[in-house]
Amino acid sequence: MARKKNQINDKALTVKRRLVAHTNPKLPVAEQYRTIRSNIQFSSLDEDIRSLVMTSSGPGEGKSTTAANLAIVYAQQGKKVLLVDADLRKPTAHFSFRLENHIGFTNVLTKKTKLLEAVYQTDIPNLSILTSGPIPPNPSELLASKNMDELLEIMYENFDFILFDTPPTLAVTDAQILSNKAEATLLVVSSGTTDRNAAQKAKELLTNAKARLLGVILNNRKIESKDYYYYYGNN
């Protein structure tokens, strides 16, 4: 039942997956991504968070959409942003940004390609994208490798903010590995879809991985008309 629901949701998201923050920056939804950006920035006092892992408990809860839009609003702020499609099992970033996916993250991880050669510069100023690249047989091992640590350093040198879009936490361990290496982690929860036990389990897994779990993004929240801020400045 839940699986079926997720599949439908996933499909709907693929159809609806839009880079709202870029195409319709005045929509309240785009504003909500900016709020998330502010909250992330406020959650670290001493220095800015430079790398962020976006994950969820199950599939189809809106990780990729959230990651893409969050990357856009960060780029709009003037930061050099790199969005990495670290979902090496079911990559989607190249669909969202309409890119090719011949060379990407896996090539860089296996040191076949240099990072800057594999990175796309998008139409959106300051936003670069690293697609997943060919699907490797051993994504978890690749992400856990020393190469990953070195790659992260290179990323820090070249970009101000790196955003990793990862697979679901409960399905595979990839998100755990990455969240351990990145500076912060955000958990995406889909309103009305995410099971509370699944979310608790995901939180537990990330905590075990010693991830710095900043908080939760509540996705697909039904907005009731009484929520006035939804209409603010939207006439």
Binding site: R18, L19, V20, T23, N24, L27, V29, Q32, Y33, I36, N39, I40, G62, T65, K90, P91, H94, F97, R98, L99, E100, N101, H102, T106, L116, A118, V119, Y120, Q121, D123, I124, I129, S132, G133, P134, I135, P136, P137, L187, V189, S191, G192, T194, D195, R196, N197, A199, Q200, K203, L213, L214, G215, V216, I217, L218, N219, N220, R221, K222, I223
Partner: protein, 251 residues
């Protein structure tokens, strides 16, 4: 985990599924109406009255004790009327095709409080048949009681007659529909609660704080019907001509 429910949450659970509650209630009301008007056979009732009186000529004046005795006698008669002795005969005389038990269920005996009148009410889908049974029962009872109890103190006060424009006593449409509505409400409200509390998904910011104990960094509304505007990006290097999904490469 201990879960507490506020009245507000209960009302919200109901409000959210108002359409479901309404739908189920309307359906049960319609079903009961259909049953009432098209399925259930209408039943008519006809009654006959008997007067129980102890005809002792020397006692002209009634006293309370005697009246009391009569009332008690009536209670006895009530049982006799419904006894197989009487009913079997009625059945035989009218050559009815139903069992004594069925006949028993059709007949009810009542007596007006503190009076000597006994009423035999017969219910049947045909009012004529009901009248026949009522009269026959009264007749047989009168005959039987003089035999069994050795007294002759029962008189038929009024014979059962079928009135014109007789209305069925059963079913009562309004009552049945009301019952349907009540049953529908109970079922639907129960369903709404079951659905609400079997749904373990996270819905609001409050849920996140309650179950995850994590701060909510932001809320994104349902992205609906946002016009697509093509945004194509170009690659710095490695311009490829064909568009291939990543899964097919290197696997």
């Amino acid at each position: 985990m201990e879960e507490t429910l506020t009245l507000k949450e209960l009302f919200q659970a109901l409000k959210k599924r108002l359409w479901l509650i309404g739908l189920i209630t309307v359906i049960t009301a319609i079903v009961s109406a259909v049953l009432t008007f098209f399925v259930l056979t209408p039943m008519y009732d006809v009654k006959t009255q008997l007067l129980v009186n102890q005809t002792k000529s020397e006692q002209q004046i009634y006293n309370t004790t005697e009246l009391q005795a009569n009332v008690q006698l009536i209670n006895t008669y009530n049982v006799i009327i419904k006894s197989p002795t009487v009913l079997d005969k009625v059945r035989k005389n009218l050559s009815l095709e139903k069992s004594t038990d069925e006949l028993n269920k059709q007949i009810s005996v009542t007596s007006a409080e503190e009076s000597q009148i006994v009423e035999i009410v017969v219910e049947d889908k045909s009012p004529e048949m009901a009248a026949k049974i009522a009269n026959e029962t009264a007749k047989v009872f009168k005959a039987e009681v003089s035999k069994v109890m050795n007294v002759d103190n029962v008189n038929i006060l009024s014979k059962a007659v079928v009135k014109e424009n007789i209305k069925p006593v059963k079913p009562i449409p309004a009552l049945n529909i009301l019952i349907g509505i009540v049953i529908g409400l109970i079922i639907s409200i129960a369903t709404a609660f079951v659905l609400e509390f079997s749904d373990k998904s996270i819905k609001t910011e409050v849920d996140i704080e309650k179950y995850l104990d994590l701060p909510v960094m932001g809320t994104v509304a349902n992205i609906e019907e946002i016009p697509a505007s093509p945004s194509r990006s170009s690659r710095v290097s490695n311009q490829a001509s064909s568009r291939v999904r990543g899964e097919s490469i290197g696997s």
